[in-house]
Every structure is written in C-alpha cells, then in structure tokens.
C-alpha cells in the first residue's frame, strides 16, 4: 500500500497588502502550517509528501525564506518530499528558485522535479511528474504524463503530479494550463495530484483527480481551504482513499453589521466575536458595517467595534454606512444651529453634484412639526457656488466619492460633539 500526503499552493512569501503591518504575521502563519503538515505526514507514516506546485509565491522570494523551508524539510529527513514547480514558481531557468544553491544542494530526501520524468517511490509505485516551465500556457501539462506512463512498469502504482486549471466549462482560462477532466484515466494513472485552485476539489475523473486547495487560507472568500489530502492506494488499479485533513493555522472570518436591525446585529456580532476570542491570536476578522444610521449610533458602534476587534490578530473594519439624521434630530439642529443645518443641506447638494446618492432623512419629512423654520429658508447651494468653494483648495468635485461625503458628515458631527459635548 502506498500512503502519501498531497498538498499544493502553499505560496510561501505571499503578499498581503491590505493588512499593512500584519502581513508578515500572515506570512509566518503559513510556515507554521507547513510544519504542521509535515509533522502530520510523519505521524501518518506517509511514504511521501507531495507538493503539486506553487510552494513559493514567486521565483524571486528571498533566500531567507528558502533556507527556512529547507530547514523544515531537512529536519524531517525520513519523509521523502517531492516538489513540483507550478505556475507561480515555474522552472524557467537559472533565475528559478529551484536553481538556487540551496535547492541544488538540497538534502537527499528533498526532490525537486525540474524535468518531466518518472521517479520510483518505492512500494511498487512511481511518481510521474509534468512540471511547469512558464507562468501561462494553453498546453495541457497532463499530456506528458501519458508519455511517461510508457516508461514505467505496467503493474506499478502510477501517481501523476502536475499543476494547472481543470478544464471545467466557464471555470478556467484557456491559457491557464487547462487539464483535461479525464487526465488521470487517459494516462492510466491511479491518482493525479493537481495543484492550482485554492479550494478543496475532488470528484473528478472518478475521484482520481484531486486538488486539495491551499493549506492556509489567504482571503476571506476561500470557503473550503486549509487542508491537505492524505491518500492511500492499496495497489495498481485500485481506487484511492482520500482523507481531507485540516492544517490551517489562521481562522479567517467575515461578519456584517447592518444598521437596519442594529440591536440584533450587535448581539449576533458580539456573540460571534466572543466565540472567537479564545483563539483571537490566530483569527483574521473582518466586519463590514452597512446601512444608514444617525451620527450618534454610528459613532457608538464604531467605538464599540474598535475596542472589540483589538484582541484579534487582524481586525479589519470596512465601513459602508451612511450617516443621516432623524427628522427630530434635523429639526433640533435647525433650531439650535441653523447654519449647520444649512451646511448639511449644502453637503447633500454637493454630493448630488458629484453624482452620488444623497442620504435621506430617516423619518418621514411629512411631519409638519418638523418643517424647517422660515428663518433658515435660504437659497440652496448652486453648482457655481460649490465649484467656487472647492476651487481655492483645488478640490475636484469629480474626485469626491460617497465614502468621502460620509466622512465629511462624520467629521462635522465628530467635531460638533467635541465642541458641544
């Protein structure tokens, strides 16, 4: 029987620009996950650890990362490791990471499959490799496997390894190494280890083609990532038994808070955050605020979230809210600060000129008691006045986005709160 761990798309050294200073921590987590996966393979007494492409994010990762990876591999010398160059780290030539001295002098148990070849794995098994030598191609790399099959004994277990997109209709690009959906059976393989997409995918070619996805999630939308495949094959022609082993270090969670039902949203979010808190050190959390609310409510919620998200490794707040006054608030403002009421109306006009949607008063404006007082009926801001207003500071009306107008209103209310608590 042959046992091996099939992984892919580690993409060590990946970039996380949207997380600023936390990016390095996210990258470091992937090393921890690799360590975990290697140890898992050892614990399962695997005959091999396969990496089906994209071990690195790019051929030009720094030497420090390469040494770290090789140190991890080197510390587990009883585990044969087979690395296939993918589309992120293709074996293009002397510039390739696989031509670094570290890999050229890699430990004996670390095998970089730079050429299309067949390697004996032991246990009557052969690994047939079709590595990538460029970033894009419309050529099916699995075709090479069909040629390699003829070079190994027919009665051996044949494991193919390559990298590319499964040629599923409307799910792949023509120049993205399209792999036929029957690539395994076409080549007479018992198992085809594929890498490229980041979510777990099986049930292709009678379960002989497996894409384990990235072992460490790298975005909020990878719903089924964070795994490696543990595969057992009893003999040639036998169906493989596949286990989906979770290895992810970080927990990526995305929540939304809609001011349509603020109390319920808050309660739900609070509960979710509380549940995550014990493992906050490895949680990557994003909360999206949406809807329309009064300044006070917005301020209060933002303040609460700023505190609540602090414990997490990454706490990202995406604010898509819009501030609007209730009718009562607006009437009060008109009474106490008529000029400010006019200013808010001017902002609405400004936003309309800029092509944005203007936030409406929350309550119905038909209430007579809330009608504006005659003293503050002033002509609305004209486009010429708006442009003249913005011109001295060289502010272009077309550059003003709805987000900015939200911030403008927020700035006013925040400053108002500060001068009249």
């Amino acid at each position: 029987m042959l046992r091996f761990v099939h992984s892919s798309d580690w993409q060590l050294g990946a970039r996380f620009s949207q997380f600023g200073p936390k990016a390095a921590q996210l990258r470091a987590a992937r090393i921890v996950t690799l360590q975990k996966a290697l140890d898992l393979a050892l614990s399962k007494q695997a005959d091999a650890f396969l990496i089906a492409g994209d071990l690195f994010e790019d051929n030009q990762v720094d030497d420090g990362l390469v040494r770290t990876v090789l140190d991890l591999f080197g510390a587990r010398s009883s585990l044969p490791i087979y690395i296939l160059p993918g589309n992120h780290d293709p074996h293009t030539g002397p510039d390739s990471v696989w031509q670094r001295k570290a890999f050229l002098n890699a430990p004996h148990h670390v095998h970089v499959l730079r050429e299309a070849l067949a390697v004996e794995l032991g246990n009557n098994a052969y690994l047939l490799a079709a590595p990538l030598r460029q970033k894009l191609s419309s050529h099916d790399p699995s075709l090479k496997l069909a040629e390699l099959v003829t070079t190994v004994p027919a009665e051996a277990i044949k494991i193919g390894i390559t990298h590319g997109a499964l040629a599923i209709e409307s799910k792949h690009q023509p120049n993205d190494f399209p792999i036929a959906l029957n690539a395994a059976s076409r080549a007479g393989l018992d198992y085809l280890a594929v890498g490229h997409w980041h979510n777990w995918l099986t049930d292709t070619d009678s379960g002989r083609i497996v894409m384990p996805g990235t072992p460490e999630p790298d975005r909020f939308t990878n719903d089924d990532s964070g795994h490696v495949a543990f595969v057992e094959i009893d003999g040639p022609g036998q169906s493989p038994r596949i286990q989906k082993l979770p290895v992810a270090t970080l927990d990526w969670r995305s929540f939304s808070f809609d001011f349509l039902h603020p109390e319920a949203a808050r309660a739900s979010l609070a509960a979710a955050l509380t549940a995550l808190t014990p493992a906050a050190y490895r949680a990557v959390v994003r909360v999206t605020l949406a809807g329309t609310a009064s300044p006070a409510a917005l301020h209060e919620t933002r303040t609460w979230l700023a505190t609540s998200l602090t414990p997490f490794l990454v706490g990202q707040l995406v604010d898509e809210t819009r501030v609007a006054l209730t009718a009562i608030e607006l009437a009060d403002l008109r009474t106490r600060h008529p000029i400010l009421a006019q200013v808010l109306a001017d902002i609405d006009r400004l936003e309309a000129f800029a092509g944005g949607h203007v936030a409406a008063v929350i309550a119905s404006p038909s209430d007579a008691s809330l009608a504006p007082s005659p003293a503050v009926t002033t002509p609305p801001l004209t486009l010429a006045e708006a442009q003249a207003l913005l011109a001295p500071a060289k502010i272009d009306l077309t550059q003003l986005t709805p987000t900015w107008f939200a911030q403008l209103r927020q700035t006013i209310f925040q400053s108002l709160r500060e001068v009249s608590p």
Partner: protein
C-alpha cells in the same frame, strides 16, 4: 458708556485743575479755538480710562505740561449699565488709580491700583496691549465711536477684533452661535494641520508625510521592478541563447561530417590530377614538334612563290625609272627660259612708282603753304582782340579800388556826420538875420563860409554849436555864446564824425562819396566790357590756350611749309602747274602703277608653277630609282631564306613530318586514359572543400559565442534570481498600501475639514448678506437726510465696510474715491448706526472731534438736524474750533484758561 464729567490737573496747557461737566445725555458741544486743549482733554480721558496707571509711555508723558515734570491727574465720571463710576488716575510721579462707584448717592471706593484698572477694563470691555500705550483698537466700543481729529476717514477693520465681530453681528443682526464658531475654528485648525490654504499638503503634516513616504516607496519599487524587468529580459535572452546553442550544435555536427567527406575526395582527385598534368605536358611537346614541321613546309612553299614575284617586280621598276629621267630633263629647260624674262619687268614697275611719289610730294607741299597762311590770319585777329582787352584792363586799374561794402561804410559815416550836424543844429545856436538892406556878413566862426552877402528883407539863418562871432557891415561885431553842454558834446561828435569820414574817403581814394559811387559804377561797366572782349578772343585762339601758343603754332606751320619746298626743289614747270593738275596726274600715275604690278604678279605665278613641276619630277625620278634597289634586295633575301630551311632537314622535310605525327598520336592516347580515371566535377572539389572548412569554422565560432552569451545570461539570472526581488517588492507594496491608506485618510480628513469649514463660512456670509439690504437702507436714509440727496444709495460689502455710494451697486463711486467730506459724512452715518445698536444695551457716547471740517454749511445744518434727532438716544460730544457753526446747538461747553468752566444751556 457715557461721560458725566472730567477733571484734569497738570494736563497739557492746564497746569491747574480744570473741570468739564456735567455733560448732558444728548448733544454736547465743546467749542474752543485751536490749541485750547479740548482734544487734549479727551485724550487724557482716554488714557485714564484705558491705560494702566503705571504706564510711562510717551503718550502718557505727552500729557504733561510742556517743560514740566508734573504728574498728570485725570478724573473721569462715567456711567455703564453696571452703574455710575468715578475713576481718578495719576500718571508718572506716584502713579495711582482709584475707582469709585456711586451707590445710594455716595461714592464708594471699589478698587485701587491695578484692580481698578482691570475693573474699568472689564466695564468698558477694553483690552491691553502687550506693552506700551493702548491704541483705539483696545478701547472697546469707544474705539469705534470716537472719530478723532485728523483721522475721520479711518474705519477699523471689523473682522480683526472681537469687538468688531460683535458690532458686525449687532449691525447685521446675525446670530452668533459660539458652538458653530468653535466648530468652524476646530475645522479650520484640523484642515490647516493637513493642507494649506491652496490645497497643498502642509509641510510636516500627515498628508505630506504620507506622500513623501509614498514617493520614497515608489522610487524603491520602481528600482525593484526595473531589476525584475531586467531579470525577465535576461531570462528571455537566456532562453533564446539556449535555443540558439542547441541549433548551432546540431548544425555543427552535420557540417563536420560533410567537411570530412569532402576533404577525402579532394585528396584523391589531387593525385590523379598530378598524373594527368605530366601526360598533358608530353602531349604538348609532341604537338609542338609536329606544328613546327608543318609550318616549315608551308614557309618553304611560300618563299618560292615570293621569289618568282620579286623577279617580275624588279623588271617593271627598272623600266619606270628610265621614263622619269626623261620628263625631268624637259621641265628644267622651260624653267631657265622663264627666269631670264623676270628682271626687265621689275625695272619698268619701279620707274612708274617713282613718278607717282613725286606727284604726291608736290601736292603735300602746296597744302602746307596754305595752312601756314591761314594760321597767320588767325593770329592777327587774336592779337587785335587781345589789344582791346589790355586797354580795358588799364582803364580798370585807374579806377579807385573801392568795394561796395566800403562804399556802404562811407555812406554810414556820412549819415552819422549828418545826424550829428542835425543834432548840433538843433542844440546849437541858430541866428536868423533879416537885414533891412543888403549887407555883408563876416562869420569868423565858420571857416567854410567866412563871408557872405545878406539880401535885404530875406532871412538868413546862421548856425553854430556854441558861439558865433559875426561882423555885420555897417553895424558892427556880434558875438554870441551858448552855455549848452549838449551842444558842445554834439559839436565834438560832429567833428569826430567828419574827421572819420574824411579819413575813410582818403583811404578809399575818392574825394567824395558821390565820386566813390561813380567809381564803383565805372568799374562794373569795365568788367562787363572785359567779359565781352574775352568771349570775342576765344574763337580766334581755337585749341590754343593763349595767344603766345597760337603764335608758336603759326610759326611752326610756316617752317614746315618752307622745309617741304626746299626738300622737293620743284622745277619751274612743276611750280607752274596748278594743284588740280597735280592731283589729276597723281591719279593717273596711281592707275599705271597698279596695272604694272598686276602683270608682274601674274608672271611670277607662272614662274613659281614651273619651279614646282620641276621639283616634283625630280622627286619622282628618285623614288623610282629607290624602288629598283628595293626589289633587288628583296630578291636576294628570299633566296637566302629558302636555303636556310632546306639545310635543316638533311633527310627531307616530308620524312621528318611523318615521324612527328606518330609521336603525337601516342601522347594523346595516354592523356585520354588518365582523364577517364578522374571523378566527376573534380575541378570543383578543392573549392568545395575550402568552403566547407570555412563554414565549419564559422559555425564553431558562432557556437562558442552563443555558449558564452548563454553562460553570461545564466550567471546574471542566477545573481538576479537570488536577490529575493519578489520578497523585497512584497515588503514595499505592503508599506505602500499602508502609506496610501494614510495619505487617503489624511487627504479625506483635510478636505472634509476644509469643505465643512468653508461651507460654514459660506452660510455665515450668506446670512450676513441677507441682512445687508436692510442695513444699507438705513444708512442710505441717514445719508440722504444728511446730504439732502435721496438719489444715491449707500452700499456695503460682505464685511460691512462701506463699499461706496451710487445709484446701483454696479455703478458705485468707491469709498476711497469719495471726497473727504463725503467720507466724513458716510462714516458719521455708520458710527451713528453702530451707536444706535449698542445703545439698546446701555447708553453710549459718540465723540466727534472736529471731524466735519470738510462739510459745507448747508450740509452742516442737515447734520445738526440728524445729530439732534439721534441725541434723544445717544450722548453726542462734539469738539469744534468753529463755535459759530454750532451756536444754539445742544449744551455748549467752553474752556477758558485754567478755570473751572460751566455749561451754558
């Protein structure tokens, strides 16, 4: 605040104590001449109210009486809404400050020293400068309500001070929302911390920092990307080199095999070639021998034919030589005969020519004589004309050399003497004698007319400068003397003038001026005649410049004519012949000479032709003789050559030829056999071998070069690939994303604060604008009342400054361009409006310190009407040095010396 009373001691001209007051609540007029101290009193009041008692500024020292070090003391009684107060301050020496408040009819001390100063400051809402004396902008509302002497057209900016803001708000009834003000200030501060007024990032602010960071990161990223691009390029280059190397290696292998094959073939062909060359050489030798034999046989046959021909030619040429000799002899005979006839013909021609020349010489001699005669005649005429010219010039020299300018001078002198005479006659003695009977008179004083006869009954006038010494016959002597100095002087002048005139006439050489005029006229006439005579002489001189040259020319012609006659020595018969005869004879002689010359020329031509024919015949005979010799020589040569050929072949020429033909055939057969062994196109093999070797070498060189390129590219790739460019780029991209967020956040915040601030300002100004119209209407009404002209409106700007006056806003006369009077009146209207507004809270004083100096009397009345109306609500204090303008107006206050003064109501 209003004033009730003032008390001054040691202030300005007031050495003793002066009290002004009490002031009424309405209109108060303080009328006094200039320098009477009225403005000083008000200035001292202001110093007391607004300056610290401990101040020692120059403005305080200026309050001291001149030349003293007395301490100014000022006491002011004033009232605010907080009550009635009395402030007493002493400056400079032992400064003091005491503030009393009137409570229940008594004055209670409520503060002293600095506390008093501060209390007053609070009451009057004034402020203090950091150092030095206060200025009107520190005086609270009074700063606006006091139009100071000499500064009536100034209006402090309302924007700068808090008081100004409040006044503006009061005037425009704009709500002052302290919260909005604070909000606006906070927003302004927030914006200014990030962006400048022109929207640029503030140096040191978060936006500038973020932009600077982004710029630095972009630079670093560009460098990393450039290196990655270089790596990509190198990779492509490497891949191309790799492919090229593979192709070249394959080609190299193929070409090596081809080159080897060719080389072997070339070597084999080379050997066969050498053998063939030897056999070809033998064939060539046999062929050459055969060719020589064949040529000798042909030559022998040809020589024999030529020998026969040469014999025939010799015979013919000998016959031709004989004939040529005969012809030559005949021609020589004829030539001799012609040469004998030539000399007589030439002699005859010479004789004809001599006769012709004689006739020509005679004609020329006659012509020379005629020319000499004509020259003599011309000379005579020229001499006559010259004599006339000489006479004229002699007459001219006899005339005096008087120029017109000199004549003019003489006339002037004569005129001058005449004038003197006339003057003297006027000044001198004039005696008119009318004798009853004829008598004689002796005038001893007149040298020119010492004696004259006086007719009876007719007056005779006698004149003398000064004295007359007369002797009337039958009567006696009369001596008359004049004491006139002028006459004496005139006489002297006359004598001098007459003397000068005489001297001038002498110099000119004329006795009188009339004679001078005549001399000038005569000279002019002579010059005209001279000009005519010279014109008459010119044709006679002809080409000769002078008569002497003409004389010389005539003499020369005469000599030539004489010499010609002497040389010819004509005979009598020749002399007797006329010129016409001579010319006819000369023409005939010329024709004879011409005919004789033509005949001689024809004869000479015939003679020359004979000579030519003789010469040609001689040459022909010589040529024929040469041909005979040549033919003989050729025959001899042919015979010798035939002999030489036949001697080379002892066995006969035919036998030798047959032997050579056999040898040639054998050599040819051997060559054919060798050629058959050579491979096809063997002659191209060396060149092909050479080309193949060169091609192989070229490919080897290219392969080496491409391998080197590939290896270099590989080395570069290994170096660049190991630099971790992606990781570096990642780090920079992440930093850039963070910096971008900071920049956007800062910019958004800056813009938000700025726009919010500007919107608030916009609305505030809009609110102000909304109330401009009512305020302008009030001011317009007040100004119309002042000026009596309701057609003009007063316009304000957004800052409530007076923009100007006019019918419409677009056609206003700007405030700065108005007359001083108009400015004074407008500011008075605005001050009145301000005072009215402030008076709603507490009583206000409006001080007009001689500010209507540029207002005419008509308008003055109107102003007084307005002030009278306003006095019901305000306390108005007018200081003036024109008491006449304010008679009967309000409460009259006077300052008279250092005394207490009372108000006259």
């Amino acid at each position: 605040m209003i004033l009730h009373a003032l008390e001054l001691t040691h202030v300005g001209r007031f050495r003793d104590t002066v009290r002004l007051g009490p002031f009424a609540s309405g209109l108060n007029v303080l009328a006094a001449p200039n320098e009477s101290g009225k403005s000083t009193a008000l200035h001292a009041t202001a110093r007391a109210l607004f300056d610290r008692h401990s101040t020692r500024s120059e403005e305080i020292k200026a309050l001291q009486p001149a030349g003293t070090s007395l301490a100014p003391c000022v006491t002011v009684e004033f009232e605010t809404r907080q009550g009635r107060f009395r402030l007493a301050k002493t400056f400079l020496q032992k400064p003091e400050s005491h503030l009393h408040q009137q409570r229940s009819g008594t004055w209670e001390l409520i503060a002293e020293a600095d506390a008093a100063d501060q209390r007053v400051q609070a009451l009057l809402q004034s402020s203090l400068p950091g150092r030095g004396a206060t200025r009107p902008e520190h005086w609270g509302f009074l700063g606006f309500l006091w139009a100071r002497q000499g500064e009536p057209a100034l209006w402090p900016g309302l924007d700068d001070a808090e008081i100004g803001q409040r006044i503006r708000a009061r005037l425009a009834r704009v709500e002052l929302d302290p919260v909005i003000e604070q909000l606006r200030d906070r927003l302004a501060a927030a914006a200014e911390a990030i962006i400048t007024s022109t929207g640029q990032p503030r140096t040191g602010g978060p936006l500038r920092e973020a932009e600077d960071d982004l710029a630095t990161l972009d630079t670093a990223l560009a460098e990393v990307r450039r290196t990655r691009a270089e790596l990509e390029e190198n990779l492509q280059h490497y891949q191309q080199s790799e492919a090229e190397v593979a192709r070249l290696e394959k080609e190299h292998t193929e070409r090596t095999a081809v080159a080897t094959t060719l080389r072997d073939q070339a070597s084999a062909a080379e050997r066969l070639r050498a053998e063939l060359d030897g056999r070809l050489q033998a064939l060539a030798t046999a062929q050459e021998k055969l060719t020589t034999l064949t040529a000798d046989a042909e030559t022998l046959l040809r020589l024999q034919r030529e020998q026969t021909g040469a014999q025939t030619a010799l015979t013919q040429s000998r016959a031709a030589a004989q004939g040529a000799e005969q012809g030559l002899l005949e021609l020589r005979t004829r030539l001799d005969q012609a040469q004998a006839d030539q000399p007589p013909r030439e002699t005859a021609l010479q004789s004809l020519r001599a006769g012709h020349q004689r006739l020509q010489s005679l004609i020329r001699s006659r012509q020379l004589a005629a020319a000499a005669t004509a020259s003599v005649k011309q000379l005579k005429k020229a001499e006559t004309a010259t004599a006339a010219i000489t006479v004229l010039e002699a007459r001219k020299t006899q005339l005096p050399a008087l120029a017109p300018a000199k004549l003019k001078k003489l006339e002037e002198l004569s005129e001058s003497a005449r004038d003197h005479r006339t003057r003297l006659q006027a000044l001198g003695l004039t005696v008119e004698l009318t004798p009853e009977k004829k008598t004689s008179l002796e005038n001893h004083g007149d040298a020119r007319a010492p004696q004259q006869t006086l007719p009876a009954g007719k007056p005779t006038r006698l004149q003398s400068p000064q004295a007359m010494d007369l002797h009337l016959a039958g009567w006696g002597r009369i001596v008359i003397r004049s004491g006139s100095q002028e006459a004496q002087s005139a006489a002297t002048d006359l004598a001098q003038a007459e003397t000068a005139l005489q001297e001038a006439l002498q110099q000119a050489g004329v006795p009188t001026i009339e004679a001078g005029r005549e001399a000038i006229a005569a000279r002019k006439d002579l010059e005209t005649q001279l000009k005519a005579a010279l014109a008459a002489l010119a044709p006679h001189l002809g080409d000769h410049e002078t008569i002497e040259k003409l004389r010389q020319a005539a003499a020369a012609e005469a000599r030539r004519a004489e010499a010609s006659i002497t040389a010819l020595a004509p005979t009598d018969a020749e002399q007797a012949r006329s010129l016409t005869d001579l010319e006819s004879a000369e023409a005939a002689a010329a024709e004879s000479v011409s005919a004789a010359e033509t005949a001689l020329a024809t004869f000479n031509k015939q003679l020359a032709k004979l000579r030519t024919e003789e010469r040609t015949a001689g040459q022909t005979a010589q040529q024929v003789a040469r041909q005979v010799s040549e033919h003989e020589a050729a025959l001899r040569s042919l015979e010798a050559r035939i002999k030489s050929i036949t001697e080379r072949y002892p066995d006969s020429l035919d036998v030798a030829k047959k032997t050579a033909q056999l040898a040639f055939a054998q050599a040819e057969a051997r060559v054919i056999a060798t050629k058959a062994e050579l491979p096809p196109e063997f002659e191209k093999l060396p060149e092909r071998n050479k080309r193949a070797a060169a091609s192989l070498q070229q490919i080897t060189n290219d392969l080496q070069a491409r391998r080197t390129e590939r290896d270099q590219a590989k080395a570069t790739l290994e170096i660049l690939g190991g630099q971790g460019l992606y990781s570096r780029e990642t780090e920079l991209e992440e930093k850039k994303a963070e910096a971008t967020l900071r920049r956007d956040a800062a910019r958004w915040l800056g813009w938000s604060a700025r726009v919010a601030h500007d919107l608030i300002e916009h609305r505030k100004q809009a609110a102000t604008k909304a109330v401009l119209a009512p305020l302008e209407q009030r001011l317009t009404a007040a100004f119309a009342e002042l000026t009596g002209n309701a057609a003009r409106q007063v316009f304000l700007d957004e800052r409530l400054q007076i923009a100007g006056i006019g019918r419409t806003r677009d056609e206003i006369h700007a405030f700065e361009q108005l007359s001083q009077g108009a400015k004074e009146q407008l500011l008075l209207c605005l001050r009145l409006a301000v005072a009215q507004e402030l008076a709603t809270d507490e009583p206000q004083v409006l001080i007009l310190d001689d500010v209507l100096v540029n207002t005419d009397p008509v308008r003055q009345d109107r102003i007084l009407d307005v002030l009278g109306t306003q006095a019901a609500r305000l306390q108005i204090l007018i200081l003036t040095c024109h008491p006449d303008r304010y008679r009967g107006v309000g409460n009259q206050i006077k300052i008279e010396g250092n005394q207490s003064v009372e108000i006259s109501r």
